[in-house]
Symmetry: C2
DNA sequence: CTGAAAGCGCTAACAG
DNA sequence: CTGTTAGCGCTTTCAG
């Protein structure tokens, strides 16, 4: 019933013009020098009948939807889930709602999502991007909408980006293992050209090179089903029996890796030292506890939102492009030391 | 550039009327008996220039936004995260996007979200509801929009609901522990009146009553910070030293519980048998493995979406209200047996 | 079979 | 300081 009330109706009942009501509702009464008396009258009435402007009409008119697209690898991943949770909260406080999608690292799917978001006129994009969507994103940027990358960058795309220092983090992880006396350190990662994966790999490779130690690389396809991932890791560790430590490039690889390790009956850290990228409850509670590189989730979310709101609120073309690199913290636990 | 093209523009270029274009784009050319020739011409042109109707304008006109509200306890919870992932995928295939929010079981916050969703004219609601929002939801239902509850029901609200059999599941869990010889079985749950929690509690209580065994109940506030939860569980287990098994009513309580148990130096299952509601990687990989009641996540998501789409696509008032109760599977692992 | 035209509810330029 | 009014882009009734 109250849904049918429009701003015109409100204006009529109060015997003022819709313009006046509109200005007041948009907090521009001071600016427009509307009398306090009228302002209060309108505000009170609106409150009373519970009138809410139709946001669709407003959006159609203004071109703003107060909606932000959030594209992650998978919303059910602990890392991305926590990021989503934080972003949602902060965005909400500024009047924005989040439309999310899980890309599954699939380029085609992501392009479709992008189209859908465009149609819906989202105001901004927050993306953990798969490869191959530089063109589409560039088009969006050209159209004037903020695009913010996180977790990984796209080499050919100049836009604001929030990252952690993947290279240094993995390098430190490898150093840690080396200090603990491990000599044959493997790196199990995704079969992916994404920047964060690549940087983690580089950190691994160069550190081993520096120490003149051998490299053992296993790349696993993101699309493999769980059993297959476990099987591949198992086969890899078996085939290369000399491996005495593993760095997992990502949390879920480690989860599957632990299953493989158990199947093989290997003892951590006696037979195999472990470090993993990304922390989660499992790694803290596993026995022995798993040394993990913990990304500063809340800070990442904070930076994302504050950068984005900044862009959104500054109609002035903030032409400065920022890349913020945060530090990840290595939480040393039992799995990486033979002591 | 192409953003500026409207349906009128398209019509002009093709020398037909906007009406015709609109009908064709909405797949009603047959019904409106538009010539194949014109139809193909329009379709081809639209494809060529990549014209997309402005969904805002359409929504304003039709009142449909093709958006579904999804409200969960927390998007970063493994259970809800997986539900969200599945729902998103299926909704997308039917042209719907999801606007999510994490209620944190907070009634006031949830009410605010509800208002926001109403303003945005979402087409339907999927909610794991906190207590105390029956009135608001009833109003929405009265306005004709589908509201679907899951994970828990609201006693005074008659609407479609997808649940698992919480009572039976907990009862079975307790039976399992009893069969394994545990005598003093505690139940650690949330300080909450939500139906799913209540039903789990009832399953616990009545099973123990049936077996004439003592009850040990610990209720923990949802808003406690992690350390406090751990501390409370620790104190509880210490105070009631006779407890020899625990059923955790929810996954995160168990996560904190495990920390407490480790602090106390208790050995599972020798000193303490464990069963937990909801499964996750941690429980499978923990040592010993934790017996868990696994909810059929994919099926829950399937039922939610198919019920909802059904409502959405049947303009006929499908007045039948359905409550679907699914079975959860108990995955018996080492933590619940002394063998 | 196709076209003209009336809004959906709001904002903001332009007039007073 | 306030009111009139022209759209935003689309759907859909009603006439041809």
């Amino acid at each position: 019933m109250e849904k049918k009330i429009s701003i015109i109706e409100v204006a009529k009942r109060l015997d003022v013009s819709p313009t006046t009501v509109s200005f007041i509702l948009n907090g521009r009464s001071k600016e427009k020098r509307i009398s306090d008396e009228i302002r209060d009258k309108v505000l009170k009435f609106v409150e009373e009948i519970g009138y809410k402007p139709n946001s669709l009409a407003r959006s159609l008119r203004t071109g703003k939807t107060n909606t932000i697209a959030l594209m992650v690898e998978s919303i059910s991943d602990p890392f991305f889930g926590h990021i989503a949770r934080n972003i949602e909260e902060k965005a909400y406080k500024s009047g924005y709602k989040i439309l999310y999608s899980s890309t599954g690292n699939n380029t085609e799917k992501t392009k479709e999502f992008l189209k859908m978001y465009e149609e819906r006129h989202v105001d901004a994009y927050i993306i953990a991007a798969p490869e191959g969507i530089e063109g589409e994103l560039q088009a969006i940027i050209n159209s004037g909408k903020p695009v913010l990358l996180f977790d990984r960058y796209l080499k050919d795309l100049k836009t604001d980006t929030i990252l952690v220092d993947n290279y240094q983090s993995t390098a430190k992880a490898v150093e840690e293992l080396i200090q603990s006396g491990f000599k044959n350190i493997a790196f199990i990662t995704l079969d992916s050209l994404q920047s964060q994966m690549n940087d983690r790999l580089l950190g691994y490779e160069e550190t081993l090179k520096k120490h003149k130690l051998p490299q053992y690389l296993k790349e696993i396809s993101y699309d493999f089903p769980p059993e297959k991932v476990t099987a591949h890791i198992e086969a890899f560790l078996q085939r290369r029996g000399e491996i005495d430590a593993v760095v997992f490039a990502t949390n879920y690889l480690c989860v599957y890796g632990l299953k493989a390790i158990e199947k093989l009956g290997l003892i951590i850290p006696k037979d195999l030292g472990i470090v993993v990228f990304d922390d989660q409850d499992l790694f803290e509670l596993y026995k022995p506890q798993i040394t993990a590189i913990a990304q500063p989730i809340e800070e990442i979310a904070n930076q994302i939102i504050s950068l984005l709101l900044n862009k959104l609120n500054n109609p002035v073309k903030t032409k400065k492009i920022q890349t913020i690199v945060l530090n990840a913290e290595m939480i040393i636990r039992g799995s990486s030391s033979r002591a």
